[in-house]
Symmetry: C2
Subunit: 224 residues, 2 copies
């Protein structure tokens, strides 16, 4: 009788081994060999899940994407963040910013993945994954901006589509700056800049917090 392998459980196990390597030594240290050693598997068994370095990077990127998606789903499942519109929006966006070692490791994976995807000629597989992740964050920005609009919290005359793009670009730029100069673009500064930006979009008339809390429950994000 053939051996029955629970691929989901093994995939989860290899994902955890990969993440320990990335957290400890960085994404560049992740190879079929180092991950096999970490998991206590043979290199051959690891190659079932990712045959080469591009496959490994894709696996890592999907893992990061799932981690961010799961946190946002969990946040929404708990009834969403509570507080003023700015606080609620910040709470969601913080899940995508490198504010601690875990999220910094996630961003490093994304950066390595993107640089590798840029090296692909034409529209390769890596580039498709980059676009999926990129569109996921844009979608989150769109849902948050729309929730603010529906709550009547935004200034008059904003072009919502452009504001989604601006917020999205700002978040990626801030994440990049935190990666380049962690001692300058600290977690505190990231939060301050993001708060400043959200505040600049809001109308100056005071808003009932509960108005926004109810609208905010519309913010749902499918895990990637």
């Amino acid at each position: 009788m053939p051996k029955i392998v629970d691929h989901d459980a093994r995939r989860e196990e290899i994902a955890q081994a990969l993440w320990r390597v990335v957290r400890r030594d960085g994404i560049r240290a992740a190879s079929v060999r180092t991950i096999a050693a970490e998991a206590g598997w043979s290199a051959g068994a690891v190659r079932y899940y990712f045959p080469d370095q591009d496959g490994l990077l894709s696996f890592a990127m999907e893992l990061v994407s799932r981690r961010v998606g799961d946190r946002i789903t969990a946040l929404t499942a708990r009834g969403g963040a509570k507080g003023s519109p700015t606080v609620v929006v910040l709470r969601y966006l913080e899940e995508a910013l490198p504010l601690d070692a875990e999220r910094k490791a996630e961003f490093d994976v994304w950066l390595a993945f993107m640089a590798q995807a840029q090296a692909e000629s034409g529209a390769g597989t890596l580039h498709d994954t980059v676009e999926t992740v990129h569109n996921g964050l844009r979608e989150l920005c769109a849902e948050l901006v729309n929730a603010l609009a529906e709550a009547g919290a935004l200034r008059d005359g904003l072009d919502l589509r452009l504001e989604v793009e601006r917020l999205h670009a700002l978040i990626d730029g801030l994440a990049l700056h935190a990666a380049i100069q962690p001692n300058h673009t600290t977690a505190t500064r990231l939060r301050r800049l993001l708060r400043l930006h959200i505040d600049s979009l809001l109308s100056e008339k005071p808003l009932q917090t509960k108005d926004f809390s109810s609208t905010e429950r519309q913010v749902r994000r499918k895990p990637d």
Copy 2:
């Protein structure tokens, strides 16, 4: 008598060969071998200027930095840009955005360089260069924001230091988005978003264009 080599001229020649390779085939195609072939030199002669792949990336990054710096210096030397504060500021910032094939190739070099620098453990040489380039763009943002402030063009109550950071992050985020999805984040959209952002910083009272034009001449940037 030893052969006299004009290293500046040879360095310029190799820089031009490197740039032709990058423009045509991307930074990943650049190697000691491909650049030697392009320049019609021996690999040994090229290795004098960059012994290995990290050295090549550093050389390319310095070249990009010089190109951007030279354009900004030339713009200022021509008396700066003319027009409303927004137009003038945009004109400078556009030199750092991937709005055409030349500037897109520059950004690709920067991205590859940064991903490579992130892979260095601790504070390596590549990382120092990343910080120098990063600080150069921040400095340009600071000079532009300060010029707007001195011309009395800004809204009241802005925290200038934070606004410099926000502008800087937005520019890098936009550049990243143009690299990831050139068909979505087009040159037209980049310009619109940047204009929207600058406009959002300006006071609503109309400003004499000539007031700003004179202040704007204070915008000077040292070449990197």
